[in-house]
Subunit: 343 residues, 2 copies
């Protein structure tokens, strides 16, 4: 058994952590929870675990009264059930690998999204008992033609399944910056969803996400997860949530040419939303295990110092790590295993 | 214990694999091994495990006669030692977390790169016995000023360490497309390295990598790993290695609007070198767990079909996966655990 890079003694401060380390500022995380509870209390929020992939974090949200959760993969559903968080789980994604979830139907309340006869047939064959009809509301991804949603719901009920309602992901609108434009365009998407809801029936109209949670007033529940920890990309939107997540790295080299190098690269930070951010200077470039930084003041830095890097995209960054460290200031107060990774 | 998404029965063909799945074409991998052995036989190649992070793959290269390996992280070194591949391991990177490696000094032959007094002091304090001096040859990353390399080597010997030589990474030149320009510029970098080598002493002049292995004739050994499986980015360079790695995904949704969606996104494929490639059409975009594809012929595709996606960057793609599946045609012939991940 490998050591996982775990220090022999419990780390007391950030300086003791093996690096690169995913670090969560607990007071900020807690403030984000409070802010969301004012916006969307209880079952109005169905937190999406794909953002943080950690049952210990999900447990905190369940304690706040958010009893239902979204998952993006069968593995996330399995992990949530294993952690005793199976009160109301939605696989908010199409899958043909759902017999794994049907096998858990006596232990948990699991609903699966369907958008075609083929995915519905897989749910029936796999022993899934409840479905939600996923509706195309404009994002070029999954979702049935709204005009065909009622037919699929009838087909599901005929096969003996419970149809709990509809979901639609306005993902193409998450990063629209102008609030008025966003409200109008989300409205158009949600009209499509509500029309489908009329045809489908059921109690649930489920929409997303952190980027539209302030403007989406049409849905009975919102699927959001990134608000818990945030990233620099969502940070541009003026949401009432603050960045709680950093990647901490150790400075391993200092060049007289005007840069320093730390031990966190693209294997510890997602690059699909661009470079991460550093408060003490510019990010020059990243390679597999390195980040080259141009500090505002070179004299401030020496080998062995710790730097805190802010990733641009939370979900795939967390998915790269085995664990996250909860901190208050520089003190390490807890360690959570990122236990919902892979498929 | 979660199921890891493992099918209950051994998968016989690609159609049986849980998706997304990292799939290696074994005949192509074997052909790449043969091609490299003609270029750089035995100890002229020091394969870099950071590219593939899998001891089962490293064992194949050791069987070919490449007895020494490079690692980028302490964890990779630990894993190689645990797998019995500790004949001659080089941590080709600076680290202050090297007491973990000093603790293995009686079990394996471990050399650590240093580029400063601070990293040398950490090696001494951590019980490391051998070092290589990492020299700045133009890439804005780690490496000591060539003029200062001899002084650091003297300091290491004074502290009782063996100094095995120098290394320099001409990473800024990997993707220079013109062979003459590449040869000339690599030559300039290698002149710096050879000057440092004169001052440092030792037998080793270690350089990189897959992108310059055809033109680098100055080094006593080449650090290359991506050649084993390749990616679409290295595929542009006209090297004698073929793409052996794909991510296999399942089509989960088909839209009448002209696209299909499969269950492999940015959590299973690295995006830092851009979009992946698909031989049957265009890649529209990726999200966390989805890829939206525009097929050349929509009528060819239905829900449940498998697609093979070619990633743009091998190293961080493999680091996202727990396992790789070896295939011959559509037959699954082996499963290798990606056991050198994280730090």
């Amino acid at each position: 058994m490998l050591s996982w890079g775990m220090p022999e003694n419990e780390p007391a401060t950030i300086a003791d952590l093996p690096t690169p380390a995913l670090v969560i500022d607990r007071p900020t995380f807690n403030a984000n929870r409070v802010a969301m509870d004012e916006l969307l209390p209880g079952d109005k929020l169905r937190p999406h675990v794909k953002a943080f992939k950690t049952t210990a974090l999900a447990q905190q949200l369940a304690d706040d009264g958010h009893r239902g959760f979204c998952c993006a993969t069968p593995r996330e559903v399995e992990g949530m059930v294993a952690a005793g968080l199976g009160h109301d789980l939605l696989l908010a994604n199409e899958s043909l690998d759902v017999a794994r979830l049907g096998a858990l139907a006596d232990q948990a309340n699991i609903t699966v999204a369907v958008d075609s006869d083929a995915t519905l047939d897989a749910a029936v064959a796999g022993g899934v008992r409840s479905v939600l009809v996923d509706v195309d509301v404009g994002l070029p991804r999954c979702g049935i033609d709204p005009a065909d949603a009622g037919r699929l719901a009838d087909r599901a009920r005929h096969a003996g399944l419970e149809v709990r309602g509809v979901m639609g992901y306005e993902g193409h609108l998450m990063m629209v910056m102008d609030p008025n434009e966003k409200a109008e365009r989300v409205g158009v998407s949600m009209e499509l969803l509500l029309q489908a809801s009329d045809d489908v029936g059921g109690d649930i109209v489920s929409g997303w996400g952190t980027g539209t949670c302030l403007t989406n007033t049409w849905c009975t529940e919102i699927q959001a997860g990134s608000y818990t920890l945030m990233d620099t990309d969502y940070g541009k939107l003026g949401l009432p949530f603050e960045l709680a997540l950093n990647v901490v790295a150790t400075v391993i080299s200092v060049s007289k040419k005007g840069w320093i190098i730390a031990d966190a690269g693209i294997k510890s930070m997602a690059m699909d939303h661009g470079n991460p951010t550093w408060e003490h200077g510019d990010v020059f470039f990243l390679s597999d295990e390195h980040i080259t930084l141009s500090p505002t003041n070179m004299n401030d830095w020496k080998v062995g110092d710790r730097v805190r890097i802010q990733p641009a995209h939370i979900d795939p960054t967390i998915a790269k790590h085995e664990q996250m460290w909860m901190v208050e200031g520089d003190d390490v107060v807890d360690r959570w295993v990122v236990d919902l990774r892979h498929w």
